[in-house]
Structure formats: C-alpha cells, structure tokens
Amino acid sequence: MKQIVKTITKKDFSTFVNTLIKDGSYDVVGVQAKGKCYVFDTLSSAEELRLNYDVTILPPKKYFLPQYEMLLKFSLQKPYEAKETITDSPRIIIGVHPYDIIALEQTDRHYFDQQQDNFYKKRRENTLIIGVDIQNVSERSFAASMNTNTTETGFDLLLTDIGTSYAVTIGSEKGEKLLKKYATVKDASSTDLTKIKTARNAVLKKYKQKMKIEKKDWSSLLVANYEHAIWEEHADVCMECSSCTMVCPTCFCYDVKEDVSLNLKQGNRTRTWDGCMLKDFTKVGSGEVFRDEVKERYRHRFFRKGNYLPARYGFIACVGCGRCGSACLPDIADPCNLINELAHFSSENDPGKYFIKEENEVLEKGIIHLPRSATIKNITHFNELDSLFEIELDDKKPLGHKPGQFVEISVFGYGEAPFGISTPPGNTPIFEIMVRQVGNVTKKLCSLQPGDKIGIRGPLGNGFDTKSFEGKTLLFTSGGTGMVPMRSIINHVLNPKERNKFKDIIILYGAKRPKEITFMDDVDRWKKIHDVQCELTVDRCEPSECWGGCTGLITTLFPKIQADKLDSKNTISIVIGPPVMYKFVIKCLQTLGIPDDNIYVSLERRMKCGVAKCGHCQINGVYVCKEGPVFNYAQLKQLPEAF
C-alpha cells in the first residue's frame, strides 16, 4: 500500500505538540529524559520531547496493560455486586520506535484473540500512536537483525527526522484527521522521500548487537537444543528477579490480586504484571509448582519468544529492543547473545513440535473479567476437606458446558479459583462442583451457606468430545479429585439417551484412603448397572477405618478388567488424577494395547484467567485453560513439560 507522506518543519511540529497539550482533548505522552535514560511520560511542553532517544526504560506497553490495572469493584456488604472499572481517556503517545510498535501489534494478536480483553481493547482504541524512526541505537538493541527497525503499519503517524523537518507518514485515518486539525504540513517531495530512506539506512551501521542466524531459524534452533546444558549453566547465575520480563515489550502475562478496604465494605480486583521467571508463577492452590527449577523457567522464557508464540501466532515474540539485556544484572537475558551462543552448537535431540488448537472465531466480545452472579443451592460434605456444591446461575440461563470443562469461581475479597464441573451437560442453570479446602478461596467457599452468592465465569476450556467416542468401549480411570470431572462424563454417557451410543463401560477409581472416596452414591449406582464394570481401590487403610474393598494403587485394578470386554483398538480410555498417577496408568493402558490416540487425559495447572491471556497455565506453548484441560495423549506426550 502506498502511504501518504507529508512534511512538517521542526518548529511547526513543536507548535503542533504544544497545541495538542493546550487543547486538552488528549493526554499527550512523549519520550523524555530521566537522568541519562528515557521514559514515556505525560508532556507539559514540546521542549521535553527527546525524539532522538535510543530506548526507553519501559516500553509503551504500560499505557495499554498498566503495571497495576483495576478490573472490578465489588461490594462485601451486598449479596452480590460487582462491576467492571474501565476508566481510560483519549491519549496520544509521541515517539514510539518501530520495534515497540511491532510489539504492540503482537500484543494485539494475543489480547484480541478469541476472547477479547475489553480493557486492553478500550485503551488501544483510545490511543493514537505517533511513531518515530530510530536515530540512535541503544547498546543492546538488535532490532535490525529482527527486521523491527522499521515498520509500515501499527502507527497513526510516523515521524522521520530529515534535517530541518520531519517527514510524517500517515498510517491511519485518525492520524490524518489529527494532522489536518492541529498541524501545518506540506506534501512530501520526492527528495523528502529519498531522505527518509537515507535516514533509515544511516542508522543500520549503529547496531553493535547482531544475530548470527536468521530470525526464522530461532524456532528450530531452540527446539533442537531443548535439553542443552546452556539452560542450566545460565540458570546457575540467574537471580530470578524477572527484570527481563518486566521491561519486555512482548511480555504480557499478568497476575490478579484482590484488595479489601479496612472497613471490609468493598474491594477491588487488580491485575499486575507477572513474570514467568518467578517461582510462584506456576504455583497452584495445593502448593504444587510446575516449573520448579530455575533452568525450566529460564528456558521457558526463550521458548515462549522463539517457539511457542511463533507456533501460535506466526511471529517471533522478540523485537530486539535490547531492554532485557541491559536490565539483567548477571547478563544472561539477552536473546541475541543466547541465540548466538546456541548457534555454535547443533543437536540431534528433537522433542517434537508443539500442537496448538485451531483458532475459532471470536467467542464473546469484551466480557472476560466480570463474573456472573450465582447462588449456592446446597452443600454436601464428603469428608473434612471435600464438599460438593450445588450452584445455580442467577440469570437462570443454562451453563451449557461439555464434560471436562471448568468454571472460575469468585468469592469477593478472597479471589478466584478454577473448579472442574462434575455434573453432566444439560439444559439447566444448576451444576455441581467439588471443593477441596487448600487455599483462601476454597476455605472461604466451605464456610459459606446455601443462599450465599458467588461469581461464575465459564464454562471454560476444552472438554470431552463424546461424539467421537461413539461405538467404542469406554475405560475411565480416575484417582482422587480426578473423579470430579470424571463424574460429569460418566453420568453423561450413562444417560439413557446416550447409553446405547457406547459399548461397555469400565470405571476404575482409586483414592488415598476410604474416607477420601467421593461420590459414593454414584459409585453404588454404577456398580448396580449390568453392563458397567466399576472397581474401587484405596492406597491404604488404617485399622480403624471400615473398608472391605481392594487395597493398593490404582494400577492394581487393571488385572480386574474383564478381558472379553476389552477390544483394545476400539476402547477409549480417559484418565484423570493427580500428576503422579498418569505415568503409571498410561503404562498399564499401553500394556493393554490401547493406542495413544485413544487415551484422553485432563491436566491441572494454574488457570488464573481461564481465557488464555495471563500465561500461568502454560505447558510448554500450550494453554491448559484453552487447549485443555482435556488433551489427547498422543498429542500431549510431545510436550516435555506435560507429565
């Protein structure tokens, strides 16, 4: 596309900026000095602008995903009151370098993906970007190697210093209107256009950091070196401060916190930047940390940039700004250095490609943070830790879930946590979840009474596609709380309308102790059905406990499967249980001759946002809250971080 280019004298440009400031319609932000460094901040005069800067400490990301951003305000006095808090006014950001513009386009891709983030969207729509071509290059920048030193898109206006004037490339209608209303410009001559090219080329020789390989080869180089010693070597000196992710223009993961006023009357839910280098990033309610070693976290950061996001969106999620390299005290964060170091090695080791679920259309516009009000109808206590909650959505609309999906439940003042749905699909606003008391949210839930209000987001994630299981024998293996989502699919296939679509049904269920067996009423019912084989075991049983059944790990139940029932090639096996269980159960299934393609599992990770935005639940490049929690084992086994 041919772009319209104008010119504006530097004096007129200052007038333009000062007019904008005086006009007051916009918050006018620009690059300015902070000591020997530069930052984006609100301008009080055009004189403060430093358009020949090298790099700012933080990228302009802070205006779209602020360091701290309030999402919801809620009341702790009323039964249920919560509202979203989008407050953003029109803004112009002057002096954004091309690499930062490209980083914003990448962030758009993520935050506008499928379930759009309405907060981010509003800020993007409210903001005009006036970019500027790079004149000085920071010591660590390698934007030229990443082809992010210039850009044709992503700005409303783009300035290029061509001597006494700026060339102004018009990138949008909004930009054109702004110029028309506030500035005095001339059409650019062909000499001016040549000057733009000359100016851009002159900068190229200022880059000290250069990549030894092509940008497109990052992914294969990383994948080939997944097990390389370099990750551990560098991790040994990593301070785990996450400065690298904090200053990164393409890092967009966030955590969510809840604050309550001192009089306990109201509170708010705020999101804040989080970093995958921090240990607690993957920590779930029960205390498990899924990327426990520094090495794993350090590697994750590079794979996310060079392999996971490229597989998902088709771009390398690094724009070569060099900020992480400058911010890292032990100097191990610079992607250019790491890639160059790896480029010396080659490896036979190939952990395989990462699968990404195909893109669907945008699901729901702009309501991803606000929960729906719901009422607790009934609470049944299984034991001192586990309780079954019956919940009804207050809008009386059916939940509309598939077996295997989950909901995020809010208890205002305490936070939000994911729960597997344990009732089968149906045309009803009522559903059940099981709550095990492990953290703030679950403990508070268990102190609530029928009639109390909670917030629901969902159903979320990828559930079981039971249609594809039709005509097959179904083997269900669950351990511990794995029975929660398992009960949903079992009761679904046992529904008289569904039952004849499947062959035999075998249910294996193991719990640690007899008292930890949940859904005993269901189990008793299943046992009585003639074409259902249902076997139970407990890991151990104290003499004081009453238990007449089998003792031993879940794997001890496999020999009990009636061989005549099991046509292994025509059996679908579904496994849900604690992380430690999968390896052993899958071995048993393979011994039975069940192909990996026929095995489905459901995994637990820290699903904070539930809509593939916040980044916490990733297994390698896969979002458990979106591509999972239900996975096909044949696909999942390609992911080194899965089990």
Binding site: K34, G35, K36, C37, V39, I57, L58, K62, Q67, Y68, D236, V237, C238, M239, E240, C241, S242, S243, M246, V247, K257, D259, V260, S261, L262, N263, L264, T272, W273, G275, L278, K279, D280, S326, A327, L329, P330, D331, G413, Y414, G439, N440, K443, K444, S447
Partner: protein, 254 residues
C-alpha cells in the same frame, strides 16, 4: 451482632516508626475502628486493657524482662502480628550482635556499675519469632501502610495474606527506575523481598534489605554480579549488616 475483635499494639526495642505509620492512616483509622476495638496503643491513646484478641507487636527482644513481657502478650492474644523489621527479624537492633553484650555495655556506658539493674541486663537481640510463635508478619522499616492494611483485612477475613516472595526488582522495574547498579551504586533489591513498592530505589536510594533476604547473599549468584560491577563481597556483607546481621534467607512462610 458479632463482637468486634479487640486489638492491642505494643512495642519493644524500636523507634516506634511503624506504629506511627498506623497512626498515619489518618481517616482510614476510622475504617479500622469499624471492624476492631483498639484497647491499647500507647503511642496514640491513654487507655489500656489486658483483654485483647489480636496483639500487634513492634520492636526487638533485648533482655530477659522483654522476653517475659512478650510471653505474657502471647498468652493474652489469640493472634500475634509482628510489626516492622525490628519485630519480624531483629532489624537494626541485630547490628550489635556482632559483639558480646558485655562489650556493648562497656562501649556505651563505660565503667558505670550496672550490675543488678534489669534494664541493662541485655542478651543478644532476638526477633519475636525467636521467643514466641508469630502468626502474621508485616515487613519493612518502616512498614508499608498498604501492606499493613492487607494483612489486617486478611486477618479479619480469615485468609492468608498475599505477601510477595519475589524480589524488589519486580516493583522497581514497574516504577521505571534507573537501576541502582547502572547509577554506579549497588542495591540489595535483587535479593530482598518485595512489597515496599521499591520505595527506596524509587527515591534514588539503594535497597538496604529491610524486608528480609529471599536469597543467600553468600552464594546464589551474587558473586557474578559483584564481579561484573566491580564490587567486593565486603561491600555487600556490610550492606546486609544493616538489617540482616546473622540472618540467612527468610523462610517461605514469614
């Protein structure tokens, strides 16, 4: 209506600055009074009662008489909150643990005969949790008022407070500060627990580690960074003495 919990605030060896931070909540103190009755708080009120549920305790334990008093407070209180660095980890009061108590007394009071005077009967400085169990910690010198509020509301709601386990750098970067190391200074931010909103580096003063170290200064990659910035181990050791003398990295639950 459920009775409001009764709160008492006490102090030991300290500057009372953290108590002042509570008083500085100003109108928000009124919000606090909606959910709790303050029955003892020497810095701001005359009244005193020994009937309380929650004890908020500032200061370090220096003498047998302090220890006795703290045990008595612990016995009265259902919940004990350590307020500020002196209470949570000994803080600046532990600087003197570099010497024996006798040496310290002699250095300060010369040959004055203080034998038998229990006010001067000092042992090596202790944090509260070296004497009695502590239920909640409000870190810092002084404390951060917002964190104090979040601990208090967590107690009131019966939840675990959300105290960061990551370093000050995270908050410092969010504030868009120029790194102290880049300014030619050096800073304990990378190994100190966040939660202070990086207030010191934000006001151009390096972090002194007042919220406790989350990494061991002796090992944990500090060496490489020191070399890169041409700093000696002695520099960092001295810096750690200010708040963290004799202390290893803090435990996960503190």
């Amino acid at each position: 209506m459920k009775q409001k919990p009764r709160v008492a605030v006490f102090d030991f060896a300290d500057c009372e600055g953290c108590e002042l931070e509570i008083a500085d909540l100003e109108e928000e103190v009124l919000d606090l009074l909606e959910i709790a009755d303050v029955v003892s708080f020497r810095e701001v009120m005359k009244e005193h009662s020994d009937d309380y549920d929650i004890a908020i305790v500032e200061g370090s334990i220096m003498r047998p008489m302090d220890e006795k008093r703290l045990r008595s407070i612990r016995n009265h209180a259902k919940i004990l909150v350590a307020l500020g660095a002196c209470a949570t980890m000994g803080g600046v009061n532990k600087i003197r643990n570099q010497w024996m108590p006798d040496e310290v007394i002699k250095e300060v009071y010369g040959d004055t005969n203080l034998k038998g005077n229990e006010l001067f009967d000092v042992f090596q400085t202790k944090a509260l949790n070296e004497v009695v169990p502590v239920d909640y910690y409000v870190h810092g010198c002084p404390i951060d008022r917002d964190e104090f509020k979040s601990v208090i509301t967590a107690i009131a709601l019966g939840k675990k407070p959300d105290i960061p386990r990551y370093p000050v750098c995270v908050e410092c970067k969010k504030n868009e500060n120029i790194c102290q190391f880049e300014l030619g200074s050096f800073c304990l931010g990378p190994i100190t627990r966040a939660g202070c909103k990086a207030i010191c580096p934000t006001h151009n003063s390096p972090c002194e580690g007042c919220r406790g170290l989350i990494k061991k200064a002796e090992t944990d990659c500090v060496k490489e960074v020191l070399e890169r910035y041409k700093l000696s181990y002695e520099d960092i050791r001295r810096r750690c003495t200010m708040y963290n003398y004799g202390r290893k990295e803090c435990s996960y639950d503190e």
